[in-house]
């Protein structure tokens, strides 16, 4: 059966179509659903096998990027979200979706103080859009089989990953993507340890700042005629396979 991917849309979400395209190519059946439909009960997380929280500026980043969407998720949909995680469904949050998942506490998801993290303002103090190289780390449900670096754009102003206990996350193989070493601009936001993406302890919940959904067609690669590489479709295929 083709797994169905739920892409929830808050006011200000804007990479829902991009994410849907990636899941479609990866063999899932994506559906972008406004939160109002989930609240009214027309849709439920239980109808889907994958939860994918897309990028954008939910609520205009008011009161901090991802904060209000995160509070929506644990406020309005606490039971559905708990069931989704308990059922072992793959969950991904990209950019603003990552920020929101961090606000829910699902990421990094460790118990106690090690579970505290935030995505702070970029070191440069500004929003920045550029292509980056992502080196995959330990394998997880989402990153199984990834060996070669992925390449895709970042587009964010608040992406510097700060964790209360990064060593603990590294220890349990939770850092699954790092920016190419060498400092700015390889690491566009100043994340400590060049951290670009992390999973929860189960490896089923992935959050990352860069946009792999914007490099799923070869023609999207700006270096396609200079030996392009790093198509991100395998990431989505892994997620779909885990569903």
């Amino acid at each position: 059966m083709t797994p169905r991917a739920l892409i929830p849309i808050a006011p200000g979400t804007n990479r829902d179509h991009d994410l849907a395209e990636a899941f479609r190519l990866a063999g899932a059946e994506p559906e972008a659903v406004p939160l109002t439909e989930l609240r009214s009960g027309h849709r439920s997380m239980s109808d889907y096998q994958i939860l994918a929280v897309p990028g954008g500026f939910s609520y205009g980043d008011a009161l901090g990027a991802g904060r209000l969407l995160g509070l929506d998720l644990i406020g309005w949909f606490a039971d559905q979200l708990r069931d989704t995680v308990a059922a072992g469904k793959p969950v991904i949050g990209i950019c603003n979706g990552f920020q929101a998942l961090v606000r829910t506490g699902l990421l990094p998801g460790d118990d106690g103080p090690a579970g505290v993290a935030t995505l702070d303002a970029n070191e440069s103090g500004r929003f920045e859009c550029r292509w980056v190289r992502l080196n995959p780390g330990p394998a997880s449900a989402w990153t199984a089989g990834l060996v070669e670096p992925l390449r895709c754009p970042v587009a964010h102003g608040e992406g510097r990953f700060v964790a209360a206990d990064l060593a603990a996350i590294e220890e349990r193989s939770g850092v699954v993507f790092r920016y190419q070493p060498g400092g700015y601009p390889n690491n566009p936001n100043g994340s400590v340890g060049d951290v670009a993406g992390v999973t929860d302890p189960s490896g089923l919940i992935l959050g990352l700042m860069p946009h792999p959904e914007n490099h799923v067609h070869p023609w999207q690669d700006p270096l396609r005629w200079r030996g392009g590489s790093g198509n991100c479709l395998p990431l989505f295929r892994s997620g779909v396979a885990a569903a």
Binding site: P11, G12, N14, R15, H17, D18, E21, P34, L35, T36, E37, G55, G56, F57, Y59, G60, A62, L63, G64, R67, L68, L71, G75, V116, A117, T118, D120, A121, G125, R126, F127, E128, C129, R130, W131, P153, A155, V162, A164, H211, E213, N214, V216, H217, W219, Q220, P222, L223, W225, R226
Partner: protein, 945 residues
């Protein structure tokens, strides 16, 4: 506010150092050592201490390292020794997303919050006097137009809800003479001509009554330069250069629309009729094209002005039922290193304008999720007092999916936010010149956008379109409901009840509700409003039914139970009653000084370095990277490419999301600040050619281009200024005909003039921006950005010689001095053949990379191209000589192309000239010039550190 509601102020830490503010303070010689920002939250409501703590912890404080404390007395966020405190906050009524969200979420968890605003506490370290602190706040920390401030503690202030709305007033104009009418015109800032005032007086005299304030304001809006384009529709008596006199009956119809009609291109679906032009893209889809200006607001409140400029042009695209998919922006600023002492009173420093405008454009586009793909930044001293902001948008829609005929009985549905005193008078304001006092009176004419609401509008409109839920649609822009409903009701008439219009706060006069330019609103004519309202609810967008289209030809506006009409106007008078303006123009011919600067230099390498560092030529990569140019996943050619991502692209391209024909769209932009004051006719040819070149290098077919024109000039009542506009329009027509490229939409922004306190006027540099949009049949063949392969040949297509009049070479050698400029680029009707040749080579797949010759000519193009591709160049073949016309001359239809040696015969076959080759290494040789990558990088990117 409910009874017992109290006000609270708290600050949220940790503070963040603001190095940009410190740097800006130093620009104004203020002895600031450090500035730290804290979030300042003002709340009104029934909140006990524990509830305030819950509110702050849940919604304001970061879980990792955040904290909050009462604003007074503060402990951790308080000024220490040698530090002072300033607090700033938005004025009540200014759009405040964060405050509104805090109220919303507080209600969801049952906290009794009535109102909230988010401001800033600034802790400033440095020995500053109160006068210096005031200067710091005025020039760096706040903008009086939208913000309040205080040294020390800023008292919370919220919009009151007890205010009583003023009633509709009757304005007594019956029996007034011309001087009396002019007094009314001035007092109400109507911006009407004396003839127009007398036609209005006669109309109401015939009706046997005086107009209401709302009627007068509606007429002023509808007849404003901004909405009615009076100058471009005027009867102009043109005194030609030879002394003969020509009558021109409407620039728009005589030149711009005439060119489009004559070309009669089969791909044009509609031109000049709706909010945007519509052209065919492929067998399924059309593209909607529009570019707008937002100059006056951006001069006063750069962030808000540019922000709402983007919002406005996006709604223009939505106004033809198209989904926005590309943004563009062309920005013109004064020198950012200008001595602050040289900035006149009432004008913001160019650097602050630039920073604010760039932030405003990025904020809006990034938040609505539409990629910003093309643009330019131009610097010239004549933009210091009159900066220009051009914002463009491309949209996509299925063939035939934009209904344009409202029917009698249709409901008038307004989508989007509530109205306030936002932008009341914006259209009349933007049709007048700015002076030192404008910032004080223009407060309500400038506003902040809310891109999140606009994103919702996009979703609602596209879903409503897909289900054919409306008969007509338009945006609420300048003039608000007055303009939107007025235009839709032109043939039918309508009745509107203002009491049904959602308001942000009480106390608005009926005419203010009618004319409010509250942003992010669209108006639909819906046969059945309920399905539209349901779609709006699904996307969490506010919507209201405010009236109906009638069919009786009268525009009637009432206010609830009040029986007396706010407006009762015949639509024919409103739309056709305006007398045609009569104007005078004088054409002056440019008399070039031959070889003016050619002999002035013996240092071409130094000249090239100066040109590469010229503010209009150097890299804007740092700016462009603050815009999202990847969202939607369709981007094919980005503004900057190359191995290091810093090679400037000429044209950019996108495969529109949702299409499947395999085609792409390409965009090229042309703009020039230097030629227009010498020869506006030549400027039109120059910028059209530049836009075409850029589009062709983005992969577009030059025989299938559509153009947008944007004029920005000074006061057209000056006959010489109008003469330049006439000449530019003639150039537009002639070039468009020569290229077979029709104009499909355009916009003129006039009165871009700053009146100094002594009465003298600084007009803007005459500026024409052309946007060319084309179709790419073969996306895989689009040339690479930046030169690529050592060993490949470098070919010049077009003439080796350019001209120096109005060139950047002239500009770096003393600038433009009247009577000292050389020959300007000559119009070249044969240029289209050159563009076709290049397109054929591109489509044949043999152009590895390319770069057009634009500002700074061959040498600049070659240096940018090689550095961007991180390869060397050796251009030493004949005709590369030390002649500045060859190295730095500018002119139409010239390209550098890179080809593999095996394809040399194919380049020769089309008459290309081999200049040399791409080399390994980091040295660029252009005739007598030798420069390293390091030197080029320093020149083009040094300012970005």
């Amino acid at each position: 506010m409910r009874e017992g509601s109290t006000q609270h102020a708290f600050v949220v830490g940790p503070g963040h150092g603001d190095v940009d503010a410190v740097r800006a303070a130093h620009l104004f010689d203020l002895p600031v050592e450090q500035i730290t920002r804290y979030q300042l939250v003002h709340v009104a409501g029934l909140l006990a201490e524990a509830e305030l703590d819950r509110l702050a912890r849940t919604y304001c404080v970061d879980p990792v390292d955040g904290w909050w404390e009462h604003a007074e007395p503060a402990r951790d966020a308080a000024p220490g020794a040698g530090e002072r405190q300033i607090e700033t906050g938005l004025r009540p009524g200014v759009t405040d997303r964060e405050g509104a969200e805090l109220v919303r979420v507080a209600h969801e968890v049952g906290l009794a919050v009535d109102a909230a605003t988010i401001g800033t506490r600034w802790i400033v370290k440095g020995q500053l006097t109160d006068t210096q602190l005031q200067a710091l706040s005025d020039r760096v920390l706040h903008n009086e137009v939208i913000e309040r401030w205080a040294i020390g503690h800023l008292e919370p202030a919220f919009v009151g809800d007890g205010a009583t709305a003023p009633a509709t007033e009757i304005v007594e104009i019956g029996g007034l003479d011309a001087a009396g009418l002019e007094a009314v015109n001035r007092e109400r800032r109507l911006g009407l001509d004396p003839e127009e005032m007398s036609v209005i007086a006669a109309h109401f005299s015939d009706l046997g009554r005086d107009p209401t304030d709302a009627e007068l304001e509606t007429l002023a809006q509808t007849w404003s330069e901004h909405c009615a384009h009076k100058t471009f529709r005027a009867l102009i008596s043109v005194t030609e250069a030879d002394g003969s006199v020509t009558e021109v009956d409407g620039l728009l119809s005589t030149y711009l629309r005439a060119a489009t009609d004559e070309i009669d291109a089969p791909w044009v679906r509609s031109a000049f009729v709706d909010n945007a032009g519509v052209v065919e893209f492929d067998e399924t889809f059309d593209l909607a094209l529009k570019a707008e200006t937002h100059n006056h607001p951006s001069a006063l409140e750069p962030f808000g002005g540019a922000n709402t400029g983007v919002g406005g042009v996006v709604r223009d695209i939505l106004g033809v039922s198209a989904k926005p998919i590309v943004l563009t922006d062309v920005l013109c600023f004064g020198p950012t290193d200008l001595d602050p002492a040289d900035v006149p009173d009432g004008v913001l420093h160019p650097r602050r304008i630039r920073d604010g405008v760039v932030a405003g454009i990025g904020d809006y586009g990034n938040k609505i999720g539409v990629p910003n793909l093309a643009g330019a930044i131009v610097h010239d001293p004549r933009y210091t007092t009159t900066p220009l902001v051009f914002a463009g948008c491309v949209g996509i829609l299925p063939h035939g999916s934009n209904p344009t005929a409202p029917e009698a009985g249709d409901s008038i549905v307004v989508l989007g936010g509530a109205v306030g005193r936002d932008g009341v008078g914006g259209a009349t304001f933007s049709s007048q010149t700015i002076d030192a006092g404008t910032a004080e009176v223009a407060g309500s004419s400038v506003q902040i956008g809310d891109p999140i609401v606009e994103k919702g509008l996009i979703d609602v409109v596209i879903e409503a379109r897909n289900h054919a839920l409306y008969h007509a649609i338009t945006d609420c822009g300048a003039g608000g409901l007055s303009s939107a409903v007025g235009e839709m009701a032109e043939e039918l008439g309508a009745v509107v009840d203002l009491s049904l219009v959602p308001r942000k706060y009480a106390g608005l006069a009926p005419w203010e509700v009618w004319l409010s330019e509250a942003q992010e609103r669209m108006v639909l004519a819906a046969p059945d409003p309920e399905p539209v309202l349901a779609v709006a609810r699904r996307w969490a967008v506010d919507a209201a039914v405010i009236g109906q289209f009638t069919g009786d030809g009268m525009l009637r506006v009432i206010d609830g139970d009040d029986e007396s009409a706010v407006i009762d106007l015949d639509c024919r008078f409103l739309h056709d009653g305006r007398p045609q303006r009569r104007m005078q123009a004088v054409i002056r011919l440019h008399r070039p000084v031959r070889e003016s600067v050619r002999v002035a230099t013996g240092n071409p390498t130094g000249d090239l370095v100066r040109l590469l560092a010229h503010p209009s030529i150097r890299s804007n990569e740092d700016v462009v990277r603050t815009y999202d140019h990847e969202v939607m996943g369709g981007t094919l050619v980005r503004p900057y490419g190359g191995p290091a991502g810093d090679a400037p692209a000429d044209g950019t391209a996108q495969i529109p999301p949702g299409t499947s024909s395999g085609r792409a769209l390409a965009i090229g932009i042309g703009v020039n600040a230097l030629i227009g004051s010498l020869d506006a006719y030549a400027m039109a040819w120059t910028v059209i050619d530049e836009a075409v070149r850029n589009a062709v290098l983005g992969g577009a077919d030059p025989d299938r281009l559509s153009l947008l024109d944007n004029f920005a000039w000074g006061r057209p009542t000056n006959p010489e200024t109008l003469g330049q506009i006439v000449a530019a329009c003639r150039g537009c027509r002639d070039a468009a005909l020569a290229f077979g490229a029709p104009f499909v939409s355009g916009k003129d922004s006039l009165y871009n003039e700053f009146v100094n306190p002594n009465g003298s006027a600084d007009p803007v540099a005459p500026t024409l921006v052309i946007t060319a949009v084309g179709v790419v049949a073969e996306p895989t063949a689009v040339p690479i950005t930046g030169a690529v392969g050592p060993g490949n040949d470098v070919w010049l297509i077009g003439s080796p010689y350019g001209t120096l009049g109005g060139s950047h070479y002239e500009a770096v050698h003393g600038g433009l001095r009247a009577g000292e400029a050389g020959e300007v680029p000559r119009p070249d009707p044969g240029a289209i053949d050159v563009h076709r040749q290049v397109a054929r080579l591109v489509n044949a797949g043999i152009v590895v990379s390319g770069h057009d010759l634009a500002e700074g000519g061959l040498a600049v193009a070659a240096a940018e191209w090689a550095f961007g591709g991180r390869v060397g160049l050796e251009l030493i073949d004949d005709p590369v000589t030390a002649d500045p016309h060859v190295l730095f001359g500018e002119g139409p239809a010239r390209y550098l192309l890179e080809g593999r040696p095996a394809d040399a015969h194919r380049f020769r076959a089309v008459g290309a000239t081999r200049l040399g080759r791409v080399t390994d290494g980091e040295t660029v040789v252009i005739g007598p010039i030798t420069l390293s990558h390091a030197a080029i990088g320093e020149a083009v990117k040094g300012h970005q550190r």
